[in-house]
Symmetry: C2
Subunit: 281 residues, 2 copies
Amino acid sequence: MTGPDNLSQSPTVNRDEHDDSENGSVTLAVSTVILALRKKEGESQSSLWLPLVRRLREPYKGQWALPGGPLPSDLSLEQAAGSTLKRATGLVPGYLEQLYAFGDVLRTPDHHVKRDGGPLTVPAADEAPANRTVSVVYWASIPATEVSRTRVHENIRWFPLDELPVLAFDHNEIIEYAKYRLQNKVEYSRIAHSFLGEEFTLAQLREVYEAILERPLDPANFRRQIAASKSIIDTGRRVEGTRHRPPRLYRYDHSQAFSDQGPLGMYRAAEHAKAEGSKTQ
Amino acid sequence: MTGPDNLSQSPTVNRDEHDDSENGSVTLAVSTVILALRKKEGESQSSLWLPLVRRLREPYKGQWALPGGPLPSDLSLEQAAGSTLKRATGLVPGYLEQLYAFGDVLRTPDHHVKRDGGPLTVPAADEAPANRTVSVVYWASIPATEVSRTRVHENIRWFPLDELPVLAFDHNEIIEYAKYRLQNKVEYSRIAHSFLGEEFTLAQLREVYEAILERPLDPANFRRQIAASKSIIDTGRRVEGTRHRPPRLYRYDHSQAFSDQGPLGMYRAAEHAKAEGSKTQ
DNA sequence: ACAAAAGTGTTGCGCGTACACCCATGT
DNA sequence: ACATGGGTGTACGCGCAACACTTTTGT
């Protein structure tokens, strides 16, 4: 299948990641899917919402898109995502993680306009796009306590995840993937806490799970699962003023490890331990 | 925490991913962690190996590094990873998936030289690196049937994953993360098959799992687990010439869905179904 | 007293693990 | 016949889902 003539290409073997040659017109951008829990008008159950930014330029002028921008050369990818987040919402995230790097040639606006519904095809070499963009996309969660403080801006609006308009670029698919990843992650990790404030009741935590997984959970079994994971600590205090038995208040146990946060997990875990004064591993 | 003066920065809100301004000297590269099963000299058990490329330039001249190079402007990230793979090994991968986008400012060679073992620190604004590189890293598996046909090249060498030298850049950490991701994935997905050829025995498949997970598995239970997953089909034929009961030959059932392959999973699944003539969903 | 949600107890099922045991082949 | 790995049967334990039941508050 691969003949010996491959050896004739061997000069390219040693082109490495710090070689600038042939690095055409590729732009590197960072966008963020910012997720938070909110209630829709008149509903009692929370659901996932996210802020979008209206585009003021072509292409896709006037349509909504994920907040983002080109990578500043003095920031890491994650720092850039965090700065985007701050610009778009003014809020502090509870969690931030890389989602995926999108780099299909077809993402460029030209091709999007051209193919209008037709099948996906690999572009011929001679029609290489002039304006190629690779986006590294992050996703973030916003604690419910922060959400109310969202800054208001004419060109920024929050949408329910299940009532999105048609967005610019491939942003609908990206958000769909973010939701998929979050649904997976919530089952084996402990991100759910990052959608809440410092203290919360079990019912509130369960509501986070239910909003993300889009199905009701048994309160009794949920309680035991969370207890078994040892991820929360009883503060001893309770919420009063409800018209039923007052629920306990818990807080997240930061001393417990978090599981996969990408390759930098260990560094961050170490920083956490330092900040908390308790060390793991 | 974030005052109202944030609004004064609002002009930046609408900088989007197709805005070229302020996109300094950031280079975009694609590298690939290429994994295959091999036996070490004199051992009967297989283990994970990968090919590395010797650097012919500074920085890290003479040291080993992941195969890769700058992203050609006419290729998608995945295509670039595949082309790297072909250049480095001449072989066809069984599986290819995005691992992570590495974009820390500290990855640049200058900073690596500077910090020699010291604590990680964020660089001051005035010492922004001149040569910033973001790497999108993929990982690939090579079927055992292909491995023997590896092309020989002076500056390419295969190493056992657990006997790596000190590599260029942060490539040791990247490979460690690839291994971690593979170990996770092998438990809930069906990638293991991609390390084998079209037909294989259960013992061979089990050997893949054992090499990846680095622990022995019970043959009896392994058989039932795989059978329950319905991922393989009995070809009816057997391997003869062994000095014991002849094992059945199986092949992978491509008609079954694969689970998470990143956001493009659905597209690829659709292509697969088309190629196989059987459709799911 | 009653509603409503907090919180506990109990049971059954499925799955992974451990391990005893039989099967088929080459030497 | 016997060694060797292929392949089957069985039993235990844990974790999860279902759901009945008790507790504690406000009205």
